[in-house]
């Protein structure tokens, strides 16, 4: 395994730093063997795994140990790349943007500090996974429901901090954060919101500070290390109805969006509605070779054959309504009437009542699962995936335009098209999955070229990504170019003021401290 030191740090200084870390947190939690380095590389990287290698990892077990780690990192100027559980699969896993950074793995801190069932919130540490919290809530009696993303293996906090989304009414996870405990770049402590007052009883209830509000400053950010946070949880509803409809053609997504958006904006539908294309469904029942035996992208005629054979629509819309039975029934009538104006496709109904068992992978009822990751096996071999994730207005003109651009580029690069649209409100998160076999260098390069062009073409059309893999953090940051990249300059001013040594996660989302700005790709 190739070894990389932090920039501008000698081997002797690095050794001294590791010795100090070991004194602070115990030598068992300073991880620096070749095997350790490999476990923190990005195994899904589109390119060599050595591209984003850390120099070591450290895993503190308490807030005080995090503070001490930060002080030592400042002393030796060894940058830290903070991860919660490091399961940001498809966006870089646990690997650092700046090679040689030391991964600050917060996975040992996994206390669920409190759950308030009456007011519907919890206070959690970074190592708490979706499964951990789900099981905890179930053991308490299931009065509260989580919102989970596609990969329940990851950290609840890490997902919210990285702007992950789920599929319940609480699915915009970052918006449900309330009150954080943060270690600052100098090792000091800060509590946000009402928690800024010692002993305040509303620390995780009122979403604003007295004065400027900073919680969101610590999301997708390298300005502090969040050690715990409040997260609002939805009371488990009395009942829920899932309405599922297969939508036959790709272009139908236009009227689907125009039908759903008014219902979403009005609040009649309160969940985030996930609309995957056919490949998302079929990849769970088989791999690519089961359906198409050639290396080229599956042609349209074969797609149509598969849709017919497996009785699939090009899209599948599953809407879930939550609440008292009578309310849900009334809402369902409104939704069905709206769809009936557009299609005769059957609308299937699946009721759930509090206390009923849930489907094992029902993310819309807050049940965590890792099964959606199975799509990665689609291409076979040592498979991996990336997500190209622009945000577009929830209107047919924008959605169809984005769909057309993506489809054309996928066709140009001869790659199977797999997209989903998740209506989160007035906007749609459009996730375009790119799956590849890591052992096929030509395919990997093709995927990278496709990703590059997706960024450029999408930006030219007036849209940007909400999240991206390490490899494109700078490129995507540069697409936010208003005022000659005024936002980049602002981020850098704040970064340099708070973190003069540039210790915390340099390069995260394209925000580089002065100390390492020469590593930015601009």
């Amino acid at each position: 395994m190739k070894r990389v030191l932090p920039p501008n740090v000698s081997a002797a200084q690095f050794k001294d730093a590791l010795a100090d870390f070991a004194k602070a947190i115990g030598s068992d939690w300073v991880l620096s063997s070749d095997e350790d380095i490999a476990t923190y590389s990005d195994i899904y990287n589109p390119g060599p795994e050595e591209e984003w290698l850390p120099s070591a990892a450290v895993a503190p077990g308490s807030v005080e140990e995090v503070q001490e780690v930060v002080r030592i990192a400042n002393k030796y100027k060894t940058p830290l790349w903070t991860v919660a559980r490091g399961k940001n699969l498809g966006y870089g896993t646990a690997a650092p943007r700046l090679p040689g950074s030391i991964v600050l793995d917060m996975g040992r801190m996994k206390k669920i500090r409190m759950v308030d069932e009456e007011l519907g919130y919890c206070v959690i540490e970074p190592g708490v996974s979706f499964f951990d919290l789900y099981e905890h809530l179930q053991k308490m009696g299931g009065k509260l429901m989580m919102s989970v993303p596609g990969n329940g293996w990851g950290s609840v906090m890490g997902n919210a901090l990285d702007h992950g989304v789920g599929y319940t009414p609480y699915g915009l996870h970052a918006s449900k954060i309330c009150g954080m405990e943060v270690v600052m770049p100098d090792g000091g402590m800060l509590r946000t919101g009402m928690g800024a007052m010692e002993g305040n009883h509303a620390a995780h209830l009122f979403p604003f500070n007295y004065g400027p509000t900073w919680d969101q400053m610590f999301t997708q950010s390298n300005l502090g290390i969040v050690c715990s946070m409040g997260l609002w949880l939805m009371p488990t509803p009395d009942s829920s109805l899932q309405l599922t409809i297969d939508i036959p053609k790709a272009e139908d997504i236009g009227w689907v969006i125009d039908t759903l958006t008014p219902l979403k904006v009005s609040g009649l539908i309160d969940q985030n509605v996930f609309i995957p294309s056919w490949l998302g469904k079929i990849s769970v029942i088989g791999t690519r070779k089961d359906f198409w035996d050639k290396p080229s992208a599956i042609p349209e005629w074969r797609v149509n054959e598969l849709l017919k054979q497996y009785k699939l629509g090009y899209w599948q819309v599953s809407m879930r309504l939550y609440g008292e039975v009578d309310v849900v029934k009334a809402k369902a009538e409104v939704v069905k009437t709206a769809f009936r104006k557009q299609t005769d496709q059957p609308i299937d109904e699946l009721w759930w009542h509090k206390g009923d068992p849930t489907n094992v992978m029902d993310t819309t009822l807050g049940v965590p699962t890792a099964v959606p990751l199975q799509m990665g096996a689609w291409v076979g071999g040592r498979s991996a995936h990336l997500g190209f994730s622009p945000v577009v207005p929830a209107q047919s003109s924008h959605v169809l335009g984005q769909l057309k651009r993506s489809q054309e580029l996928y066709a140009k690069y001869d790659v199977d098209f797999y997209a989903s649209f998740t209506i989160g409100g007035r906007f749609v998160n459009n996730i375009n999955m790119l799956m590849f076999d890591r052992d096929k260098p030509k395919d990997v390069q093709n995927i990278k070229d496709l990703f590059d062009e997706l960024i450029v073409v999408t930006k030219e059309a007036g849209y940007g990504e909400y999240r991206t893999h390490l490899n494109w953090m700078d490129e995507v940051a540069q697409t936010f170019d208003y005022g000659d990249n005024a936002m980049t300059r602002y981020n850098e001013i704040v970064k340099d003021a708070l973190d003069p040594n540039g210790i915390l996660s340099p390069g995260k989302q394209g925000v580089w401290p002065r100390a390492y700005r020469q590593f930015a790709r601009r």
């Binding site: 195994i43 469904k281 299937d348 699946l350 199975q374 498979s383």
Partner: protein, 134 residues
């Protein structure tokens, strides 16, 4: 009622649980309700291998888990019984092989760090998964 596409597949997977029960295996926890791991020094783990396997590997390797699903397809294609998709039912895994897969990853399984599973915990998991080896 419409049968969602995944449901048929899940029924196939759920037969694993029944199969496990019929074969004398303890009933599998529903919905990946994993076993708890007692608090303690994780570098000399006080937990049992079964607890650790369930808690650290159960995300994917209990019934309905992604790993179980993927392995079931592969095992059945090899003419092997579906129950062997559950790692806890296997009798052909070795401790070295388990350690290699955990630390190096396999297929689309990422590598597992020593924060996720310490060396002490990994040894206990390996002991558990090899307990029925001939």
């Amino acid at each position: 009622m419409k049968t969602p596409l995944l449901f048929g597949f899940m029924l196939a997977v759920s037969s694993l649980g029944a199969a496990a029960e019929n074969s004398g295996m303890p009933p599998l926890p529903p919905h990946q309700m994993r076993l708890e791991v007692p608090d303690g020094d994780r570098t000399q783990s006080p937990a049992s291998g079964e607890q650790l396997f369930s808690n650290a590997c159960g995300y994917c390797h209990l019934t309905f888990g992604m790993g179980t699903n993927v392995l079931m397809g592969r095992r059945m294609a090899m003419g092997l019984p579906p129950q062997t998709a559950l790692l806890a039912n296997r009798t052909d895994l070795t401790a070295d092989y388990i350690a290699m897969v955990v630390r190096s990853g396999q297929g689309d399984m990422p590598r597992i760090t020593r924060v996720d599973l310490t060396d002490s915990e990994l040894a206990l998991v390996a002991e558990y998964l090899t307990r029925n080896n001939p």
